[in-house]
């Protein structure tokens, strides 16, 4: 029984300094609860002059991560610098030295999760990464442990706080996309370059990690159909509401027989769905399993404190395993029969907004092209008649194939009565 666990933290930014501060402040409490002394031995950062939540005492600080990964006393390396290098090198070298690793690095894990899990397992050590997805929400532990008896059939996540804040502001405050982005920037919810968030790429990285786990299938964020939110307009928000929906940026993975459909895009979701009420910077993950049915895990998806809650949970659990001499770092098993569905095979309902000249026969022309491409119409809203200007025609279709929708819209957009490219938003129900 090892009663002291030494920790090295690499990266003392928002999450790192919050984690260190809490570990210091609650040290006695954690010892009381676990019988283990969790001690931060070293913290590494390349810039000790920038502002942070907590400045470690001088003896704890270093500017070289080698001081941590080469220290034989350090049991757990906490990697909080993000991006690929040197994070990848740090994690690989630490695992090879049989140190446990805790990381929040979604970017790296969305590309290297299986390799790193396998490295951890081969070295009889542990890799914790709860903080990489949805902050403090225990979605990784849920899939790894709590829902382990289930066949997971679907995951629908609101995994990016910035875009959810923007869409909430567009819906609730009738702001335009750029007004809402400005508000997000002012409140510190959007980075100076928010393109990773807006484009849906950040959500795809997170969904790649949980989908790998859920479906036992290697998933990279390159496998996704990805669409961002920058083309959503207030009028789409309004039409969605009229039809009983809200527009959210959803990260969806769904099992269809032995294929997994993977996608991140703005979607219409019924106003009565639990995810429709997830507003502002909150995150949530909706899950379907063969035993538990439906579940939702909801909470703060970002921020130093919420992330530190997840990082420290991993540290405490891994510390308990090391302390007890346990060596059961699981082998991750790939199910080879599972494959990724081509986006063209996607079969969902669609919201279509046509911008057409207001002439008799326009609707008939559109309907004709849709019909020839096996797309049937569920409902139509034609906004108001205006003989001088183009008018929006909003349609909800029944389930249709993505490739048929694309083909039909490419034909429709060439019709002389169509004034602007048709807006296509998928419906999730």
């Amino acid at each position: 029984m090892k009663e002291k666990i030494n920790i090295g933290i690499i990266g003392c930014g928002t999450v790192g300094s919050n984690t260190a501060l809490v570990m210091q402040n609650k040290r006695d409490l954690f010892t009381l609860h676990t019988g283990i002394e969790y001690r931060i031995k070293k913290i590494c950062d390349i810039d000790w002059n920038r502002e942070r939540e907590w400045i470690p005492p001088e003896g704890m600080r270093t500017s070289s991560y080698l001081d941590i990964i080469n220290d034989p006393d350090i049991d757990i390396v906490v990697e909080l610098i993000g991006k690929i290098e040197p994070a990848y090198e740090i994690i690989v070298k630490s695992l090879k030295k049989k140190k446990a690793v805790v990381t929040a690095n979604k970017f790296l894990l969305s590309k290297k999760l299986l390799e790193l899990l396998s490295l951890a397992s081969n070295n009889n050590t542990f890799l914790g990464f709860e903080a990489s997805v949805a902050g403090a929400i225990p979605v990784i532990k849920g899939l790894r442990e709590s829902f382990a008896a289930n066949r997971i059939n679907a995951i629908i996540g609101i995994l990016n706080g910035t875009t959810n804040f923007i869409l909430s502001a567009m819906t609730g405050k009738h702001q335009t996309f750029s007004e809402a982005l400005d508000t997000a920037r002012k409140l510190g919810y959007a980075e100076s370059d928010p393109s990773l968030d807006i484009s849906g790429k950040d959500s795809a990285q997170k969904l790649a990690i949980i989908s790998t786990y859920a479906f036992h299938c290697p998933v990279s964020d390159d496998d996704f159909l990805i669409e961002g939110i920058d083309r959503i307009e207030s009028q789409d928000m309004d039409s969605a509401r009229e039809l009983g929906y809200k527009i959210k940026l959803l990260a969806i993975s769904r099992r269809i027989d032995s294929k997994i459909s993977l996608r991140v895009h703005p979607a219409l979701i019924s106003s009565s769905h639990m995810l429709a009420d997830v507003e502002d910077v909150y995150n949530a993950v909706y899950l379907e399993g063969d035993l538990f049915g439906k579940a939702v895990l909801y909470g703060e998806g970002a921020g130093g404190k919420a992330a530190s809650s997840a990082v420290i949970a991993d540290i405490i659990e891994i510390g308990k395993k090391i302390s007890s001499g346990a060596r059961f770092s699981e082998k991750f098993v790939v199910h080879p029969e599972i494959s990724i569905q081509s986006p063209d095979e996607l079969m969902v309902k669609y919201y279509l907004r046509f911008t057409a000249v207001d002439r008799p026969g326009v609707l008939a022309k559109i309907a004709d092209v849709l019909g020839k491409n096996k797309i049937s119409i569920a409902s139509v809203i034609q906004k108001k008649e205006n003989p001088e200007h183009a008018v929006p025609i909003v349609m909800l279709t029944h389930r249709a194939l993505e490739k048929n929708i694309k083909k039909a819209i490419s034909i429709i957009d060439k019709l002389s009565c169509i004034q602007e490219p048709t807006r296509i938003i998928r419906v999730e129900d």
Copy 2:
């Protein structure tokens, strides 16, 4: 490394037979994922003739639980018979034989959790009880592990599916309490004697278990202020909606300095609160922590499949620990500085419905008594004038002390203008 885990299940009703069936059907999958063979060696039930999801083969069946707790090969005893005896004897004897125990017995755990945790710890073995609260929702694991770094400040649960179904039907379908109870019975959501559910007692048992964990304070369901839902009327539902609220049976524990307020009662909750959208037989737990902020865990709270998801999650995790030779069954630490708040000290807003004769001056009389008892009024709805009959006057107060409310209402209810006992419903915000 022990690669075979033998399991004995005691109680082959809905949860027991579902658990056994899934363990049989997914046995190869669990072995593939964990490297461990989970084998059900024996299943005990006193009546093998009643209908069930799955009938175990004859060689697996027994009618004496002693065959399980005395079998030296059995590593994990799964207790699924409920109630106090012989469940208590089974769990105590199994733990003393250093067997691990998995149970869904909320009734027993609401009275004996600390004793049994301590027995497990002293015998270096494990006690799993995820299924005792909120079905498949990982609230126990959340508090034990995922949120372990947090100081928990509040728990608000919808922990009873039957009562939530009834209140949903009263709100959505405008049914009376007894119509909704009948519907619940017809759909199999209410037992022939639903008094444990309706009275709030079942919710209190579940909240006792999670509050003990969350606040490190021994909590029994006897410590609670408990009120059931049988006196809620449709007109209260309607008035609540007008005021922007829904009525839900909430199980609340909240830290106020070093005291814990514990209560189960119908409550007005803002329509925009995440819990307000939890409908039908679903359960949800809202949590507040100093690091993660706010979180909600939502899912199916009952039913054989959902419960088996939680039971098997415990079996798999404990199996992994046994297999790896780990011995870190945690000691549960009580924080002696925490105590239970007297219900009289409760300080919340109140919904008051007076039934008064429609005469000038009535409102002034009521307001006078409230004022003298330090209760200030936030808003009043006086339904419609009707000189022949008593009319309802609905009031929302600002925060007031429970003992002052009780005193004021006892005085008001004696006024000659008051026709019926005043209806008091607490507000949670």
